[in-house]
Amino acid sequence: MKITTKLWIGVGILGIVSPLGLFLPDHFKAGSAWGEWGAEEVQELIGYIPAGLNRLATLWSAPLPDYAFVGWEEQSLAGLSLAYIFSAIVGIMLCVGVAFMLGSILSKKE
């Protein structure tokens, strides 16, 4: 098997096991990444929401916010895991598409 094929399989496996990135933090009761809190979490931490943060935090509405579907904040971990794997597949395919496009524009023609 070509090494690139093996590496593609590796990336695919990482995508399928990606919900570990939800399960492990949930199991060990870990919260957000430091400095990546939503406005309400900041309010809890310091007692107010900085004005600029409040204004800019909602600047961009991502189509798959936090690797889930819009309105899925209350979903079970199992549901979120499916959305996570879906997000991983979409993200990987987009990365591959964009990188191939850039790569073929930029690479040396032989």
Binding site: I3, T4, L7, W8, G10, V11, L14, V17, S18, L20, G21, L24, P25, F28, K29, A30, G31, S32, A33, W34, G35, E36, A39, V42, L45, I46, Y48, P50, A51, G52, L53, N54, R55, L56, A57, L59, W60, A62, P63, L64, P65, D66, Y67, Y84, V90, G91, I92, L94, C95, V96, V98, A99, F100, L102, G103, S104, L106, S107, K108, E110
Partner: protein
Amino acid sequence: MHIPDGYLGPATCGFFYAVMLPIWGIASRRVKKTLSAKQVPMLAIGAAFSFVIMMLNVPIPAGTTGHAVGAVLVAILLGPWAACIAITVALVIQALLFGDGGITAIGANCFNMAFVMPFSGYYIYKAISYKSAIDSKRRVIAAGIAGYLALNIAAALTGFTFGLQPLLHHTADGQALYCPYGLKVAVPVMLAEHLFVFGWVEAIVTALVIKYLQKNSPELLERGN
């Protein structure tokens, strides 16, 4: 390490976009000279790998979460300029599609994770593995140390960028406008969590893949020897 929208003031966001624009330009020119058509699939694998490894959040029990970035591994295999392009692709898609990292902070996040990290990691790896055989243990250790240190350098810089905000932007009565934590909190916290936990994940992932490639595809490690 993905700085969201609202944590950096406009001056900082603008500064990092201004710094990254020429870096992206140079990266494109360098890659045009060095990347062969055969390496394009590796560029795509690099971008996809970095994207998905960043989804694998690792917890600090009852604390925060973090993740590896994969930037050093991609830099070892494709060189730091191609790695800059690959990681930028992953970060831009994360910001636009998944809201992971702010769109105003794409410049800052790319500076830390797509520029400083692959470059520092690449040269640390080169220095430690200098003149070692392709199949030597020193290369595996070099990859691990490079991954560990480079992630921490990027984390410290991210902490520094966070920590500057209360100095740059605050109201007359001292309330922060953007990131509320100053240098004395942001830098030590970002560094501690990466030194103690997330850096090790980066080190292990980078070292293990290099070890695997030594056995299965040593020609991939011959770049720039």
